[in-house]
Symmetry: C2
Subunit: 134 residues, 2 copies
């Protein structure tokens, strides 16, 4: 058994030029500086809204795994949700036992410097789910 909590964030894919424009709309929010994550092929920017946040993603590099999403969704869109677990190894074993596919054999380090793993959207009702060890 392991603890689950929906992370207080949602991750959106967008074009940065538009995000820059959005910044003007987000006058009540705080925009953090961008952070490149070469291992994941994305650049991230967090928009802080109270004690919650929105993660803006943009493809990084030529083989970014998120490029195909932007090709299919020209204006961007909702990309994934993140669920925090207190024991990612235990969660991964449990999911494998339930035939829920993981997108990598091992957890990688994510945007918050913690181990993360993604689950196959086809095994999660069409939703790309990220697990992060809290």
């Amino acid at each position: 058994m392991y603890r689950l909590a929906l992370q207080r964030s949602v991750s959106l894919l967008c074009k940065f030029s538009k995000c820059e424009a959005k910044r003007l709309h987000l006058t009540a929010a705080q925009l953090r500086s961008s952070k490149p994550l070469p291992e994941h092929g994305v650049t991230t920017v967090f928009v802080e809204l109270g004690d919650t946040k929105i993660e803006l993603l943009h493809p990084l590099g030529e083989k970014s795994p998120v490029q195909s999403f932007l090709d299919k969704n020209k204006s961007g869109g909702m990309h994934h949700i993140c669920i925090e677990v207190d024991n990612i190894q235990k969660a991964m074993e449990d999911l494998k036992a339930q035939n829920i596919r993981l997108l990598s054999e091992q957890a990688k380090i994510g945007a918050h410097g913690k181990p993360v793993v993604f689950l196959h959207p086809k095994d999660c009702d069409g939703v790309l789910v990220e697990l992060e060890e809290a």
Copy 2:
């Protein structure tokens, strides 16, 4: 000026039979009973995860506005995010002034018994955004 906060929830569209199966996976989470919202053409079920929650949506009635989403995304998917505002009228005026289209002229009562309005996804980088008066 008005306060913004990302609601600690994300809304997913799914087929209920699958959700029932998922219930077995969500052993660490609490599933609330379903609630029909005829005015919005959906039935909702909230899954509580710590102090956050996932809203599961299913079409209700023959003219449900979410049916086309399920037609396009057979396995379901991420449907919308909700941003809380402390003054929905002020937020609506501000958004109209910025040419961000609202999907209804007036706010309606949402799943939490509070006024809500949806913003056009094409004006929000492909993301369907719900505003809820907190």
